[in-house]
Amino acid sequence: MTLNDLKPGQEGKVISIREKGTLRRRIMDMGVTPGVSVKVIKVAPLGDPMEINVRGYELSLRKDEAKQIQVEMK
């Protein structure tokens, strides 16, 4: 399953990040790396983007981008 499958309140552990290139590096630079815990906080009022908590801070990313992050639910 991918990050955008998680619902608000659910936690997961990152397994891998698919998309190659600058987006991927950006995601990892922001602390979303294989093995890290993430928690979905909410989804924006218009349905996209989503807000997650990772490494102690809040990160917002689009659902398209979240789809590239494979997770397993905790």
Partner: protein, 683 residues
């Protein structure tokens, strides 16, 4: 001996607050060339031999965005004497990622752990001396907003700069990677070993820019990397990020004690429950925006009749002051016996022209102040978060909303506000389309045409439709620009939602003041030059001073009117209008008043406000369709020189300014043409 100290850190870590504390008003905001990024330099208040450079906020030193490239190029190529890495104590893990990358450049570094007050109020503890022990560099706790710890920080930084004290090599990477780094370094040409090793690591990471810079070493380097992939796995980029965070994890375990484990709901989280709430977010945002505009533009503030808002009040002061200065100058010139043309040049040309700009500077200042306050508080990020869904369809992001919204008031602060967008491409596109929003100065033009040419019930719809036209053209332009001009650059929305903080008033004011000052100076030259030029062209011909009807400008208007023939308004007065509109769009009304009927602008404005047919004479040149085309043309073509000046200042290069202007002119022409052609077919 003088030293340069660079400040580096994540966005929202309090770097700017620290910079302001260190430099006070002794700072200068320029532009990094060719990109839409502020370059901030200042002198340390307590020691004028120390120059402080505030690098753009970045999350890493990988070449993801213009900011990161600027920060890393500066550190690696310019080699400041020391880098102060500001770390936000409340999200220390992510912040330390940049710390490690700066440490890898082997430039002398000092770490400042900021927001220590917030860390403590959460009940967490950060052991700075333990961190210092592990990292091998001084680590100083600070609270930038109150100035706490700053003195110790600067002492450490200056010592490190003077002694050129480089930290130790950190045990982040495994032996295979270290060996590969050393092997690759053998092939690289840089003189200093630190540079070679840093580049080697970047090559292993797959850094595009460094990889492209290789020439004949490329093959050998690729061989080494391939071998490394055999033992480490193909994804070296992920491996290295992983190793860095693994090291950070160990570091944090040793030096950071959290009061509660896991995700703790902060005050910000609680606030967000309301501010980004599904139902409340948009109404709250609408109210906030309304308050913003009211504080700037309202003439009946707080619904009290005649009470000016701060913006209007300040603008009034400046206008009155300027008018007094103008009158005094005029008296002086008359009594000194100055010739007519000098009087006209100084009063009508220079004073009036610059006065128009000076008049709205206070509005720009107030608006920008309020926006900075919103930005620094963290609320803007939430607005972007909420609005993103709409804007991403046009190749923009939620952050474009505020600048475009402000464009309905005035393009100048709107263009300044576009600095907050996430990447260079978004900023450039947003800046190019911001003038398509009908700013306040364009409204009198619509009112004039509407009053004269459009029947009663159509009036409101006509004006409303012009506003919509601007929006539609903006959207289509964004799509086109994304597709053709910037096709290689990606735009995504990975964005931090920072903690809500109350910005320090001082910080916000310094920032706003610097911004306005920068604009006044940079744009001032364009405004001044163009005002004088147009004054000259509209008041002279070869025989000397004349009325506008016989001036150079009229001749030019006649000469170029053929250009406007396909648009339906091939009349010299229309062309002259367009040109005077470039000083200030509302000038078109005054120009028409003079050229069509010899009446002055005050009479015109009174008539328009009264809803009367202000200028029936224009029907000799315009009909409904061509009037609409003319309004559209003036809406979309190059904005007033003040706005062009703002574009120049924010784009950071003449090349991009010219591109923006060219784009706007072409768009204006095509749209006006379509309106004329299609309109004539229908009506």
């Amino acid at each position: 001996m003088s030293h340069i100290i660079a400040l580096a850190g994540n966005p929202n870590c309090g770097k700017t607050t620290l910079f302001n504390e260190l430099t006070g008003s002794k700072q200068h905001v320029g532009n990094w060339p060719g990109v839409t990024v502020d370059k901030k330099e200042g002198i340390y208040r307590n020691n004028k031999n120390i120059t402080i450079l505030d690098l753009p906020g970045t999350y890493s030193l990988s070449p993801y965005s213009a900011e990161e490239i600027i920060a890393r190029d500066y550190i690696v190529k310019e080699k400041p004497d020391a880098v102060i890495n500001i770390v936000d104590g409340t999200s220390i893990e992510r912040n330390l990622y940049l710390t490690l990358q700066i440490a890898e450049t082997r430039i002398p570094m000092v770490v400042a752990v900021n927001m220590m007050d917030e860390v403590e109020s959460r009940g967490d503890r950060i052991d700075c001396s333990k961190l210092s022990q592990e990292l091998g560099v001084p680590v100083i706790p600070i609270v930038a907003r109150s100035g706490k710890g700053i003195h110790e920080l600067m002492e450490a930084a200056i010592t490190v700069a003077k002694d050129h004290k480089v930290g130790k090599k950190l045990p982040v990477y495994d032996d295979q990677i270290i060996t590969a780094m050393e092997d690759i370094s053998e092939y690289l040409k840089d003189k200093q070993m630190e540079d070679r090793e840093w580049k080697a690591l970047k090559l292993i990471e797959g850094d595009e820019i460094i990889t492209e810079s290789l020439t004949n070493e490329k093959n050998a380097v690729e061989e080494i990397i391939k071998k490394l992939q055999e033992s480490e796995g193909e994804d070296l980029e992920a491996k290295i990020a992983d190793l860095r965070y693994h090291y950070i994890g160990k570091l944090v375990k040793k030096a950071v004690k959290k009061a509660k484990l896991g995700h703790v709901e902060t005050k910000s989280d609680k606030l967000d429950k309301i501010l980004t709430n599904r139902f409340l977010a948009l109404p709250i945002f609408a109210i906030v925006m309304y308050i913003l505009f009211a504080c700037t533009f309202s003439e009946n503030f707080l619904f009290i009749d005649g009470l000016p808002s701060l913006g209007v009040w300040l603008a009034g002061l400046v206008e009155d002051g300027w008018a007094a200065l103008s009158a005094a100058l005029e008296n002086f010139l008359v009594s000194a016996g100055a010739s007519d043309w000098i009087q006209s040049l100084v009063i009508s040309g220079i004073m009036d022209g610059i006065g128009a700009v000076a008049g709205f500077l206070p509005l720009v200042l107030v608006l920008f102040l309020l926006l900075s306050f919103l930005e620094d508080s963290g609320y803007m990020a939430r607005i972007a978060f909420v609005m993103d869904r709409i804007f991403r369809r046009f190749g923009l992001s939620g952050r474009s909303f505020i600048p475009l919204l402000m464009g309905f008031g005035c393009s100048v602060p709107a263009l300044m506000a576009s600095r907050t967008l996430e990447n260079d491409k978004d900023r450039k596109i947003t800046m190019m389309i911001t003038p398509f929003m009908s700013c306040g100065a364009k409204l009198p033009i619509y009112a004039m045409f509407a009053a004269t040419l459009f029947v009663n019930q159509n009036k409101t719809w006509i004006v409303f439709s012009i506003y919509m036209l601007g929006l539609v053209v903006a959207v289509i332009s964004a799509l086109i620009l994304n597709k053709f001009l910037f096709k290689d650059e990606s735009s995504n929305f990975i964005m931090e939602l920072p903690q809500y903080r109350i910005p320090t008033l001082k910080s916000v004011m310094i920032h706003a003041w610097e911004k306005i000052k920068g604009f006044a100076i940079k744009a001032g030259t364009i405004i001044f030059a163009s005002t004088v030029l147009i004054w000259f062209l509209s008041n002279f011909n070869f025989t000397g001073m004349v009325d506008m009807e016989e001036s150079f400008l009229a001749y030019i208007g006649n000469a170029i009117k053929f250009i406007f023939a396909p648009l339906g308004f091939a009349d010299w007065r229309a062309s002259v209008g367009v040109v005077t509109g470039w000083i200030a769009k509302e000038n078109i009304v005054a120009t028409f008043g003079q050229l069509f009927a010899g009446i002055d602008d005050e009479t015109m404005i009174e008539a328009i406000s009264a809803g009367e047919q202000a200028l029936p004479q224009i029907t000799s040149v315009f009909n409904g369709v061509t009037a609409y085309a003319y309004m559209a043309f003036n809406l979309l073509c190059m904005p007033c020189f003040a706005a062009v000046g703002a574009i120049r200042r924010e784009m950071g290069s003449m090349k991009w300014t010219l591109r923006a202007v060219a784009f706007q002119m072409i768009t204006a022409y095509i749209v006006a043409l379509l309106i004329n052609v299609i309109g004539n077919l229908i009506f």
